[in-house]
């Protein structure tokens, strides 16, 4: 898929309120970067701790209790979607044409499907894994994929800055 300066999506993002604000207010981009990093830690922390437990790390932690940290992960995700839309709206074409950015979006979609698999594809017993219990192989595979995918999101996200889009 290729975009030009005149593609409707590019024009839509560029001329949006977010685009105008991000270009017009000098401190907004750095402030959004700060929030994006905080959201990253919240999301990766809340999701990662569940993945690690399913993989057998810190076995004494019951999964239902770890699920109580979910609001932190969801808040991190919302924060990062909002700030992320801010970044790309500031200058949409270089982002949407950037390989690292595209791969990052793809990994987020796959990670999202993977989360749905965890919550809708596994039995209630696995989702409610008590302290000390081992998760079945299927659940471990989903957890391992989740960790790799979210770390992949961090790595590809970081590389947007090094592969053309000159953000700091």
């Amino acid at each position: 898929m290729t975009f030009t300066q005149d593609s409707w999506l590019i024009v839509l993002l560029h001329d949006s309120f977010a685009g105008v604000a991000m270009r017009g207010i000098p401190w907004l981009f750095p402030a959004f970067e700060v929030l994006h990093f905080m959201g990253m830690a919240m999301l990766v922390g809340a999701v990662g701790i569940i993945d690690l437990r399913v993989l057998g790390f810190a076995r004494g932690l019951p999964l239902p209790a770890l699920h109580k940290f979910q609001p932190i992960g969801v808040a991190g995700l919302i924060l990062n979607v909002i700030t992320g839309i801010g970044f790309i709206s500031s200058d949409p074409l270089p982002y949407l044409m950037n390989g690292a950015y595209r791969l990052k979006m793809l990994l987020i979609v796959i990670a999202g499907v993977n989360i749905l698999l965890f919550y809708f594809g596994l039995s209630r017993q696995v989702r409610q894994l008590p302290a000390g219990a081992s998760a079945p192989l299927q659940a471990r595979l989903i957890a391992a994929a989740s960790l790799l995918l979210w770390f992949g999101v961090i790595w590809t996200g970081r590389f947007i800055a090094f592969t053309g889009k000159n953000t700091l």
Binding site: V34, A41, I49, L61, P62, A131, R158
Partner: protein, 152 residues
Amino acid sequence: MLQALQESDFAAWMLQSSYGYPVVLTLHTTGLAVVVGVLVLVDLRVLGNVTQLSLTAMRPLMKLVWWAFLLNLVTGLLIFASDAERYYGSTNFRIKIASVLLAIGLAVPVQRYLRHAGAATADAPSGVRLAAGSSIGLWAVAIVSGRLMAYF
């Protein structure tokens, strides 16, 4: 010394190689997500949230935090060495280092509490709660100042 550091072959490699700095910085960002993401959850537990989680069972998480911190200590030193004089003179760098040192120092009493509290269900002592609460705030300061080092 700062000058010798940033004129070293290593610094040249970090700044000129097309993958040196990007890879080191990416590892540093990964470590940040693990240190802060996991430690904040431990702090929240110590502050009295999600008491169904046994304190003893959370201890392995601290091991993870320390390994990730080690990763960031090493990658942080490499990044510092690549442009030592600029970082040394940066106010944001100094704020970041001060907040990181304080924040990781506060992880020590939190970890000691996990080790000795056993199956305690009562609230943590106020000193430990203060350490856990300040830790969250200081990591936020570290992220703000660390991120802004790229600008000022």
